[in-house]
Symmetry: D2
Subunit: 345 residues, 4 copies
Amino acid sequence: MKVGIVGATGFGGLELIRLLKQHPEVKEFILYSSSKKGEHIDSVYPHLNGLAEGTLQAIDHERMPEQVDFLFSSAPTGVSASLLPPLLEQGMRIIDLAGDYRLKKQEEYRQWYKKEPPEQKWVEKAVYGMPEYNRENIETSQLIANPGCYPTAALNGLLPLVTNSLIETKSIIIDAKSGISGAGAVPSSAAHFPVANDNLQIYKVNQHQHIPEIEQMLHHYSEANDPITFNTHLVPMTRGIMNTMYATVEEGITEREIKEAFFEYAEQHPFIRLSPQRTFPCTKQVLGSNYCDIGWSFDTRTNRLTTVAVIDNLMKGAAGQAVHNFNLMNGFPENTGLQASPLFP
Amino acid sequence: MKVGIVGATGFGGLELIRLLKQHPEVKEFILYSSSKKGEHIDSVYPHLNGLAEGTLQAIDHERMPEQVDFLFSSAPTGVSASLLPPLLEQGMRIIDLAGDYRLKKQEEYRQWYKKEPPEQKWVEKAVYGMPEYNRENIETSQLIANPGCYPTAALNGLLPLVTNSLIETKSIIIDAKSGISGAGAVPSSAAHFPVANDNLQIYKVNQHQHIPEIEQMLHHYSEANDPITFNTHLVPMTRGIMNTMYATVEEGITEREIKEAFFEYAEQHPFIRLSPQRTFPCTKQVLGSNYCDIGWSFDTRTNRLTTVAVIDNLMKGAAGQAVHNFNLMNGFPENTGLQASPLFP
Amino acid sequence: MKVGIVGATGFGGLELIRLLKQHPEVKEFILYSSSKKGEHIDSVYPHLNGLAEGTLQAIDHERMPEQVDFLFSSAPTGVSASLLPPLLEQGMRIIDLAGDYRLKKQEEYRQWYKKEPPEQKWVEKAVYGMPEYNRENIETSQLIANPGCYPTAALNGLLPLVTNSLIETKSIIIDAKSGISGAGAVPSSAAHFPVANDNLQIYKVNQHQHIPEIEQMLHHYSEANDPITFNTHLVPMTRGIMNTMYATVEEGITEREIKEAFFEYAEQHPFIRLSPQRTFPCTKQVLGSNYCDIGWSFDTRTNRLTTVAVIDNLMKGAAGQAVHNFNLMNGFPENTGLQASPLFP
Amino acid sequence: MKVGIVGATGFGGLELIRLLKQHPEVKEFILYSSSKKGEHIDSVYPHLNGLAEGTLQAIDHERMPEQVDFLFSSAPTGVSASLLPPLLEQGMRIIDLAGDYRLKKQEEYRQWYKKEPPEQKWVEKAVYGMPEYNRENIETSQLIANPGCYPTAALNGLLPLVTNSLIETKSIIIDAKSGISGAGAVPSSAAHFPVANDNLQIYKVNQHQHIPEIEQMLHHYSEANDPITFNTHLVPMTRGIMNTMYATVEEGITEREIKEAFFEYAEQHPFIRLSPQRTFPCTKQVLGSNYCDIGWSFDTRTNRLTTVAVIDNLMKGAAGQAVHNFNLMNGFPENTGLQASPLFP
């Protein structure tokens, strides 16, 4: 296959290049960039010296459907709303890594993103690309809204509990922590090394745009429509997300039922790994891989469950999950090109 | 005054040396160390080259009361239980930075520390050294149990709310994050640089020994005796604690009442600083100082309050608070020797 | 005294605020900033919450001589060339932390800085503010060109050898490494956390503008006019410079003579510390302090001397040395306000 | 093939597992560990959860030749001297990642390693496993002494110059910097996070055991037997080596000749990449890959060449190069299993 990557010079784009370079079904890829068109990718990113041929192409709605068989869009949120529909109308199959097509309700998008949503038609057609819960829809979809990094870790840790009615959804509190690559490739004050290094920052307190994305899925799988509490921190590391999640256990539920729910979940899904009981994952144990590792502890003093889920935000939280979806959409074995072990230390 | 420091080669001890070196009322200090006695401190820690005279002394119960007027004990938890009583019996005034004398109930100490508590007499006489809530007792005390690092950040963020009945104590969840100096000066796997760097680790999930310490104070100031949820993470930075704290706001309480409670608290206490509304502190903004900076957000969607408190774990969380107590016990202005601005960046 | 700081929102400016805040002879300071005038410093830098009063003032050549008795200029290099002369003409005494007035030869400034130098008159009057070698001139100077960070570490390690004719100046190679705060407060790609973290970068290879500054002093104290080799690296840490310096030992020179030269140097100068023989300083052992720590090793296999000098780039390499010069210019004891111990760990 | 790994729980061992797991010619591997035999590798290293079957085996000279077709030994230096000969006598083919078999002169081994060398017979038979210079010998060898991490970066940067007589060997100075994983998996004070973080340390000044290893190769390819100067630093990052290397250019040599020498070298060797002229590599651009990236600058002011070589110390500096040698010894295409792109950021 011939594959295109829009927004190739962002961190999501770079990770897609790394993965597709080793994907046995991808014979060629074309890189698109509006900001650096005409440049060669390895003059911007020397780690790709010798690894990516051709220059960065301008985005051209007419030529793209001829140039490539499949498109990954890693353009910033707010851009793909207008960028993708002309391509979709021509029948292109697209995985969008941005937030534009994730929220089904346009008013929620406006409220949380402070941007104008894409036209309703494509929002409706878009499938939320979480393979663990949406596999069949993904396989037949034309447009995938690839999940956000935080929601990926949150939902993989919470949905096995919610779908089995093990926790009270109204009690859910998610304390999320991310490495700074999550802030993207554009320099900023909060990500300036002398500020970010040896520092822990909290941001967008109670206002993060991933809140409605998590709630949308939780509400889909539970009867209640409770709001959740969700906060995010910038940890002085490059990659990695850890979500520490708290919820009150439903009356009468035992540790054994929790254990079984997680055990079964990990059994069914190739990229979910369960930590041995009473141990907890660290972010580094999934570095560079597509795994989501989960640990949990039922505290009988408070009747609360602590669930910990870790991912590599650029992999399972972005490009890795996108390639997973790409595999499903094309009928490839779902772990194709995603089998690399984590890099440790 | 002539002051002694037991456990001078630990990180708490080093920070005491740094502070007492600049304290105008301390004319001399003697360093004690059981593990390195006879060595010179600057051969162990070259940053002290030229700054600390004399060799490390052995701990000697008979000579110590003659050698010094006041003692800081920074020995590991479990050691001061037996180390201090003979000195106390001779009338020495002591600030203990370890956990031994903090919990009033011996069975709680046994349960959480898995160690034998000190004799009940001295546990009873010990005053919990949190200047914001115990000032008068501290001033007349012979033995101070200096608060733990996490409880310091937790209680300064929560007590202004609890004492004003603004939150439901049974809903309190504390998600705590610490720099790795909190693990002490002895090398370990979890603190081995290649493991800890670029990594986020969670530890002692629902089992941290600071849980009963926080609860003891919360229960003292509230009518209920609710257990709390408290978890701790190792952040890849040297110093700093951030506690992100969640609680349901009591029925009918307004944002304004919360604001006033914190405002008044910061007004009254020299080392408490309130972040401007809708902004939140980062750990680096208190580095090397004795400040506890607090920010908060009332989320009306969930009726929950998010409170963020940051400290330097070796300062306000250990040596700085100890010197604060030392000032109170000796009638010095409370900020004596603690006026240095944070080091930024 | 009433002191002004131009460029108060840069990292050099912040460090001056931290130091002057604790300087017993400074009763008040006024902060100037062209980019943020009218703002309050602690809304830009929350670590200063409650520590710095008044708003940032615009730079005003007419009012400044009335407002303050002494001026520190921490404006970027290239700005002070035109900014300072009108103030100097009015008799103001100024310490300039930028590079503009350091090089005595205007053509060298043009060549290495690619900027237009200040007028020759003030370049000639400017005294290079290295207290160890220029004390008398500093005391009577009106304008101090405060040394660059790298040259400070280089010259303190090399001049004791050069002035005693112990090494061949033509053989000098300086391999310099700096924390990233040296790059300043403005975000950039090379200092973007995801790029800079867990990374080592070399930059301005054989082209750093500190080369002529180091050579100017070496040539002043040696007979030869040999060029040196000097390269610089960005280390993933916030503060600290380590210069590893190589030179061939002059024929017939013994280890003992080297030892004595350094010993004598450290004896004479309060901020120079010599590491015990066969030990070497690390950058962290001077963090937050004004020390320059030096270690050395004479390798008889190659007849080369390895000299290692470390400083905190924002202290001895910038603001600390500036305050040292300020003390000398005003007849205060030279270590006034500079006695804080390093922060370790 | 069935492959064994001795010392599987060290960082070199872990990296071998990661690589061999994806190597198409390796059907199975057995992990040996003297310290953790009987344990399962993923209980020690959770990143391998689900990725490595079987328990860690004891080292057993009799069973190993039957169990595996090929052996990688990643035991600590000093251990393989006695561990390997009984296996070699039985005909096993082995790649040793330790230092024991690298130095051809036993007295040099004793002097620099302060250990007893292996018997002369096997030292003589051992082939220094640097594929760029020893390919033919490697292909037919039974025992490979896999090069040290620093020498790999040093020799790939210097040999193209030395073999073309472009630099004066007696002028070579290597200033080497490494991430802290180079210190191994055993916790120590220098690698304790609170000490190592935000710090730059120099160690083994003029005494590093890699000095004779580099000299041995340089002397093999040059007429002179000049000693070199070589120093090593611990940079606060997990992986990566940068060697900044200085040498005087031979009389009459032009920039063009240098350029051609490096260009030709990079053309011939699949894991050598040359940075575009006047640009220089950073360590992160080779993270997780087997590349050695090289940049250089000829400074006509000093007639010195600055050459910069970077590698991932656990890859090209250890396990990656070992797999490269393994490919050559077995007639596989030399980049088999080594084609992953660097992980960036």
